[in-house]
Symmetry: D2
Subunit: 305 residues, 4 copies
């Protein structure tokens, strides 16, 4: 398996040249566009590292998985889906247009920015700090890493330049979908996006989800089974923004990408995989990361389909 | 002419029953849905009042005319139209969707909320208070009324509930179309919308525009002729939100409506007319007010077409 | 006046280089992109020609003016506007999207393709041939030219490649807005678009409209006054596709453009103007033609605003 | 298992009252809105029938699965997906708007009407009749039923009233995505939609897909494994129109619904399920059918997530 991973990275390294590092948040533009690394962590706690596995990155939209998990645990399926939909989006992740044109004004799903902002507001906690701690703590447990922290330069950069997200949040407030203080919710959301990891951490998160919500290192049920199933279903249909359908065909596993260049993939009852490659395609997904996952899916027969 | 106005009001009073007072700003919901009044002020300074002419109302979007005038005077046609378009909108006045789907992200025109917010930011002044004073002063001159003031209950209500406008403004900031502090610009905009008048004031404003920008009571050129022409052109194509085309066919004069229930109509080289009737149609225009203007246009042969 | 026209053409000839001849109908691609000619015909029957005034072109969307006139005369304002709106469109002339997203499925206005196809179906006549004859006859009277005919190469090219218009027409049929045989209505519409003229013909049509519907050469009321007024109003708000607003600001007269490169402009109670220049801007309007009209409007003080 | 199926039908029969039989094709409106039946067919060839299992229905969009299979076998993955996307749609199944607004004009996926019309044109055959025979034959093999035939009343009704599909097809022709004669392709498509079945037939089709493309009754590989995987992936993300995401969360199996009231569900390596209930929800899916599948999924633990 080690050589399969190594080959997948080497064979697809060339794709990094065809993508671009996210630039709409100035700090993200500093990402190394040539980096490509990966980690496989299986349900028996075996770990394989490959390529630039020590590249540090902010998890960005990968945080939406943990946010959704907390919202579902803390408020229940019914309440969460009364405020956010379950349908894939054909628009980019930061789109506002559909909020307006759909009668309910509900965000289409929890994995576009609008939906994740709503789910952030639904996590337990009386204020932004408590909500952050709630979700941060979930992430620490899923990564088995107590030292996971926010990258403060990225956080400040997000906060300073996050006007489209601010627009989304005020629109949701105007439509009575968010009730809390908008700036407080946004601040929490920006912090969660700015959490810094390496692929090992993300692969462990993916492995917990692959393992029906149970941490393989402790046999602790971190995520209730029903919540875990909902999350996998939404990862399949909505995990890679407006190219989720293509990913389902070509890779065939629940997954979530982030504009920091990470993709988390879940091979149920088998393994979690994380790839990092900050050069993105036009949909905001790691361009080489997707290719690595395609090759791994074929070589290791990971597709659910 | 007095009896023509009286009849137009009486004949169309029944339409007030088919409309609804704006409710999205709580203070506006207190408007009297049965009221219907009008004022004609001609370029010889003759004035005719009819119906509930003493109904007080906030001017809401009618302020967009003064805002556009100030932006054009203070920054020039070229700068203004580099940041806002000149095209009519098929979407409602508070729509965000087109901002996103048009490549430039420029608001379609100065008479939808997004466009007026941009124009507010373009008026002279180093901060919101100076910008407000600049436009407030223009309004005082156009109404020949130094006592025009903000209705503070409406203003507070707008500020408190104006999250869709806040979303619009942050989106524009994110697209680099507004450079100023968003809350400061919004505050100015909310105050301008909350300015309180009676139809006499609005009819005088309309008459200045009808008179090529010259105040008929002082012969002072308040609005430069070129700016005045641009404003009339945009009033024809964009003045009644997404029913501007119908108004051009059925009334045929430059006009601007506001959700406070007022419609300002300009019969070039002839007269200004203001109607107030807080019961609105589904586009946000005074439902009986439009009918009164249709009847006046036919009786007085006011259509430009 | 002759030198004003001459200068306007010479000064703006350079703009032809920045546009492109319509290519979506193969025959149109043969147009001479460098040509620029104009004709002014005033209500006293004075005519001035300038530039490449003998360039022959197909009228394309300029036919929509005659189609609307016939629909209004034959079926009345109420029936026509029950099947087509009066509102300007922000989408391109051949767009389908708004048909679907608006609840009524009515075309936005008579000057986008969908609206003109509906109006064609509303003209008098039991079949396509009779409808064509009806509208063709109106055009002959408005141009005072009995020899106006269809360019059959263009017509065949339109018919062969007109699949987007075919899609529009079938959509309208599916929405019960067109009742007639779709191919028959389309055939009539394609023929009307393919009518060939020179600027003299179009300027005379414009002059009839400028003259309240009365042919200045015969004092015959060709177009009823009310219909003529409606047509002027719609020309102001919708005449230049999705740059109608800009044209109102910069030229300020009712007008209609066609992708054959002609723009017809109406200076009420004064003159009709036609310009031809097959190089188009991105909205489908003659790029140099618009500039010529801007200069003429300023020099001759033609703007209604 | 028999009692589980029986209970699922009885428990959810009440939902039929909340839906409506499809009415846009007059013949479909004759469907029995109270009917609710189902069939389970497993990979060991065990069959269980329940409720109104002998209700005859036309398969409508369920035919899109066979159409996609044939297109993929006959032209290959690369060619098919150069003409149709893989992304879920947030618009209704017969929408045109996205064709226009997406740069490529490609239909979003093979399971909206536009995409299925493209795939029909891609099946082997020199003309519509040959293409129909090709796909009809595939359906006969997948159902193990040589007597599957078109319901000619429904077919004529579709053909007569299918103007929105005709609009879609002409639009695709205009965008050079369909090259064939539009009426010929449409005729084939209408016939395929009008194929009549009972739930037993559909359950067998589903079972072939559940069994990696191998007919369990003959061990014959009817669908190549790779094609079968693509089809399952697209069924998960796009199978229930704009409520595919919800179905993935609540049922969790590849599926395809049709407006005739049938839903086909695939439990991989386990069973095929077909439910029929002509009363539809607002998305065009059998309202009670979905509820039956939710209950079966929970009771039989069918979700992939």
């Amino acid at each position: 398996m080690e050589s399969i991973l190594k080959n997948a990275i080497e064979n697809n390294k060339k794709w990094t040249e065809f993508g671009q590092v996210a630039s709409y948040i100035p700090e993200l533009a500093k990402g190394n566009s040539e980096a490509l690394g990966a980690c496989i962590f299986d349900t028996n706690c075996n770990m394989i590292l490959g390529g630039d596995y020590d590249t540090r990155f902010t998890i960005q939209s990968v945080s939406k998985v943990a946010i959704l998990i907390c919202a579902l645990i803390d408020k229940g399926k019914k309440t969460v889906f009364s405020k956010v939909g379950m349908e894939p989006s054909t628009d980019p992740f930061n789109s506002l247009a559909k909020l307006e044109t759909r009668e309910s004004h509900k965000p289409l799903n929890p994995f576009i920015n609008a939906g994740a902002i709503v789910c952030t507001s639904l996590a337990s906690g009386d204020n932004g700090i408590e909500k952050f701690n709630r979700i941060h703590n979930m992430i620490k447990r899923m990564t088995n890493n107590d030292e996971i922290e926010v990258n403060h330069s990225v956080y400040r950069s997000e906060k300073l330049t996050g006007n489209t997200n601010r627009a989304i949040a005020y629109y949701l407030k105007g439509a009575n979908i968010i009730e809390k203080d908008v700036e407080d919710v946004l601040d929490t959301y920006f912090k969660l996006c700015s959490i810094e990891m390496v692929v090992e951490d993300v692969a462990k998160m993916a492995c917990v989800i692959a393992n029906d919500g149970i941490a393989p290192w402790s046999n602790e049920q971190i995520i209730p089974k029903e919540v875990n199933g909902i999350v996998k279903a939404i990862m399949i249909t909505c995990g890679l923004y407006d190219s989720s359908g293509e990913f389902s065909v070509n890779v065939g596993t629940p997954a979530k990408s982030g504009v920091g260049g990470c993709i988390m993939a879940v091979a149920p009852n088998n393994m979690g995989i994380a790839v990092v490659g900050p050069a993105l395609d036009m949909h905001g997904n790691s361009i080489a990361g997707k290719k690595v996952l395609e090759e791994l899916s074929q070589q290791l027969n990971l597709s659910m389909f």
